[in-house]
C-alpha cells in the first residue's frame, strides 16, 4: 500500500516526534522500504537508530535515533500504530471520495446521454451518441452496434480511431448471440481481427431485431462492474432507439406510399379515358392497377373511319421506374400509330425498339407489347406480338385459341426485325389481348388462375357485349383469388367484330 503524505500528516508527525526529542532523541523517521516518508528533523542522522519498529502489513518502519532510554521502545510501537491508522483512514476516505466522484461523473454522463438522445430520432446520430458515451465512460479504443432484422440489410455503426472491418463486428455479434449470458471475450483465438478484448451487451429493442453493442480494446481488461454500466447505458438508449427505428420505418413507408401514389397517378393519367367508337366494332378496355403499380398500358387509337390501332403491353418491374418507361413507350406508340404511314404493326414495334433500346438497356428493363391494326373495310386484323401474353382469338364458330407471341420483347436486342401476323375476321369473331396479371393471379393457397380458367371464362361470356365479357372475367378472377391481394396489374382489351349491317 502506498500512502499519500499530506501537510497535515507532517504536522501531526512533527508534534509526536517533538515528544521523543524532549526525552533525548536526535531524529525520528517514518520509512517505507528505502524511502524516508517523513523525518524530524529533516537532517540525515549519522548513527544507526537506537530502536526501530515495523508494522506487519503495510511495510512501514519507525526509526528513533539518539540517546533514548530503552524503556520507551513500546511507545514507538504505539506511535507507529496510531500514525498508520491515521494514514489508512485518510487513504480510505480518498478512495471513497474518488469512487463517489466517478459515480457522479457517470450519472451526469448518463443523464446527458439520455437528454441528448431525447432530442433526436435519427438512428445514426443516436448510435453515434451511444457509442461515444460508452467509449468515454468505459475507457475503450472503440465501440460498435450491430442491428439485424430478417430479410433486411444489417445496420452496422462504429466509432473508433482504428475502424474494424464490418465482417469482424458482425462476427463478434454472432459470437455473442450464441450465448447472450457471456459478455466478455478476451481469448485472442476466438476473437475476430482487430480486437484484443471485447465486451458485448444487447440493446433492448423489439424481438424481431437482434441488436448488440460491442466495446473493444480496453487496456487491462473488462470487469463485472463494466458489464453493469454498459447494460445501464444500453437500457437507457434502447427505448429511444426503438422509437428511432419505428420512425425510420414510417418515413420509408411514407416515401414508398408517395412513390406508389405518383406511379398510379402517372399510369391512370396516360391511359385513355374514352375509347373511339367505330361502326361494326364493340370495344372495351380497362386496366386495374395493383397496389404496387406494375408497368401495364393499353391504348386504342383511331387512324381513319375504317381503321384503328390498339396496343397492350407490360413494362418489366414495378413502381416509378416502370411507370416512367411505360409512359415513354406509350408516347412512342401513340405518335407512331397516328403519324407513321405504316400498314404493318411490326413497323411500329421496330420503331419502338429503335427509339427506346438504349433507355431500356440503361435501366435493365424491357417491355412486352402487342400492337394490332384493325381494318373494318377489309375485315382484316394484323398484329405484331412481342412477348405479350395472353392473347386469345375466339372465332365465331370455334374454341378460343391462345395466340403465342412470334417475337421477343422490345428492348432486348438493339437490332431485331419484328413480324406481322394476319387474321381474316368473320362477323362475331372476338379478339382479346390481356396482361399476365390475369393468369398469374393467385389464390390464398398460392395456386394460379392460369390460362385454362381464363380461356373457359372468356368462352362462357362470348355471346355477351365486350364490357360484360371483361366484367365476368374480372369476377371469376376475384372469386378465385378470394382474400389474396392483387400482386400485378390486370389490363385487358376486348374487340368484338360485327360486319356492318349485321
Amino acid at each position: 500500500m502506498v500512502f499519500e503524505i499530506s501537510e497535515k500528516h507532517r504536522t501531526i508527525f512533527k508534534s509526536l516526534a517533538s515528544s521523543w526529542i524532549r526525552i533525548g532523541a536526535t531524529c525520528v523517521q517514518l520509512v517505507q522500504g528505502d524511502e524516508v516518508l517523513i523525518g524530524c528533523p529533516d537532517s540525515v542522522p549519522i548513527s544507526a537508530p537506537i530502536f526501530s519498529t515495523t508494522t506487519r502489513d503495510s511495510n512501514l518502519t519507525l526509526h528513533v535515533y539518539g540517546a533514548v532510554d530503552m524503556r520507551w521502545a513500546p511507545s514507538a510501537d504505539s506511535m507507529l500504530d496510531v500514525f498508520v491508522s491515521l494514514l489508512t483512514a485518510d487513504s480510505d476516505l480518498d478512495s471513497l471520495t474518488a469512487a463517489l466522484v466517478e459515480t457522479q461523473d457517470r450519472l451526469v454522463a448518463l443523464y446527458e446521454l439520455t437528454q441528448a438522445t431525447r432530442r433526436t430520432l435519427d438512428v445514426t446520430v443516436l448510435l453515434d451518441l451511444l457509442i461515444q458515451q460508452s467509449k468515454h465512460l468505459l475507457d475503450v479504443d472503440g465501440g460498435f452496434v450491430v442491428l439485424k432484422e430478417k430479410n433486411k440489410n444489417p445496420i452496422i455503426h462504429q466509432v473508433s480511431e482504428k475502424p474494424l472491418h464490418p465482417a469482424h463486428m458482425d462476427a463478434a455479434a454472432t459470437l455473442y448471440h450464441r450465448d447472450p449470458n457471456r459478455h466478455i471475450f478476451k481469448d485472442s483465438e476466438t476473437l475476430p481481427g482487430g480486437m484484443r478484448n471485447v465486451m458485448m451487451v444487447s440493446l433492448p429493442v423489439r424481438d424481431e431485431i437482434s441488436a448488440a453493442m460491442g466495446l473493444f480494446n480496453k487496456s487491462g481488461n473488462f470487469t463485472t462492474p463494466d458489464i453493469k454500466l454498459a447494460k445501464t447505458i444500453a437500457g437507457q438508449i434502447g427505448a429511444q432507439l426503438e422509437n428511432a427505428l419505428l420512425h425510420k420505418e414510417a418515413v420509408e413507408r411514407t416515401r414508398l406510399e408517395t412513390e406508389m401514389y405518383i406511379a398510379r397517378q402517372v399510369q391512370t393519367a396516360i391511359l385513355p379515358q374514352t375509347l373511339p367508337k367505330m361502326e361494326g366494332l364493340d370495344i372495351y378496355a380497362t386496366s386495374i392497377p395493383a397496389l404496387e403499380v406494375g408497368g401495364d398500358f393499353f391504348d386504342v387509337i383511331d387512324r381513319s373511319k375504317e381503321s384503328l390501332v390498339f396496343a397492350l403491353g407490360d413494362v418489366t418491374g414495378k413502381g416509378m421506374p416502370a411507370a416512367i418507361l411505360m409512359s415513354m413507350v406509350h408516347t412512342v406508340i401513340k405518335s407512331a400509330s397516328r403519324n407513321m404511314p405504316f400498314i404493318n404493326p411490326h413497323e411500329v414495334v421496330n420503331r419502338l425498339n429503335h427509339d427506346m433500346y438504349n433507355d431500356f438497356s440503361n435501366v435493365g428493363m424491357f417491355t412486352t407489347v402487342m400492337i394490332g391494326l384493325l381494318d373494318s373495310s377489309t375485315h382484316s386484323l394484323r398484329y405484331c406480338n412481342a412477348g405479350q401474353s395472353p392473347i386469345y382469338y375466339i372465332p365465331v364458330n370455334g374454341e378460343p385459341v391462345l395466340l403465342e407471341a412470334q417475337d421477343i420483347p422490345v428492348g432486348i436486342f438493339d437490332v431485331h426485325t419484328y413480324s406481322t401476323q394476319t387474321i381474316s375476321l368473320s362477323s362475331g369473331d372476338i379478339f382479346v389481348a390481356a396482361s399476365d396479371g390475369f393468369p398469374e393471379s393467385c389464390n390464398p393457397a398460392g395456386e394460379m388462375f392460369g390460362y385454362e380458367r381464363m380461356k373457359s371464362a372468356l368462352n362462357l361470356s362470348r355471346d355477351l357485349p365486350s364490357k360484360k365479357i371483361v366484367e365476368n372475367l374480372l369476377d371469376s378472377v376475384y372469386q378465385f383469388c378470394g382474400t389474396h391481394p392483387q400482386e400485378d396489374d390486370r389490363t385487358i382489351v376486348v374487340i368484338k367484330f360485327q360486319k356492318s349491317g349485321e
Binding site: 407490360d314 418489366t316 414495378k318 424491357f366 420483347p409 432486348i412
Partner: protein, 110 residues
C-alpha cells in the same frame, strides 16, 4: 431463394433454387456484373431448382445476357422446369437466350 455459385472449367455457373422474383434479383445481378467485370463473360445460369420466375427476374437475366454479349461472351440457361419454360416461351425470351436441357450441354454450347 438459394444461390449457389460455382465454376465449370473457365465458365461461371449460377445455380438458383426457389422463387426467382423481384425480391431476389439484387444478389443475382451483382454476381453477374462481378463475373463479367472479372473477365468471365461466359456464364451458365442453371434454373433446375426454380419453380417461379417473374418479369423483374427475367429482366435481370436479360441484363446479364447483354453484359456478357458486350464482352463477346454469352449467358446460357439450362434445366428449365415446366412452369418456367412456359414463361420463357410465352414471352418469346426462348428466342433471346440459348436454352439447354443440361448444364453439360450448356457448357458445350459456347
Amino acid at each position: 431463394m438459394e444461390i449457389i455459385k460455382a465454376s465449370r472449367g473457365n465458365l461461371s455457373v449460377l445455380q438458383l433454387k426457389g422463387r426467382f422474383d423481384a425480391h431476389e434479383v439484387e444478389p443475382v445481378y451483382a454476381w453477374l456484373a462481378e463475373q463479367v467485370k472479372a473477365g468471365n463473360a461466359k456464364i451458365i445460369v442453371n434454373l433446375a431448382g426454380v419453380n417461379f420466375i417473374d418479369s423483374t427476374a427475367l429482366s435481370t437475366l436479360v441484363r446479364g445476357l447483354k453484359l456478357c454479349r458486350e464482352q463477346s461472351g454469352d449467358l446460357h440457361i439450362c434445366m428449365l422446369q415446366q412452369p418456367v419454360r412456359v414463361i420463357f416461351e410465352l414471352t418469346r425470351l426462348d428466342k433471346a437466350f440459348d436454352i439447354f436441357p443440361t448444364e453439360e450441354e450448356a457448357a458445350k454450347g459456347f
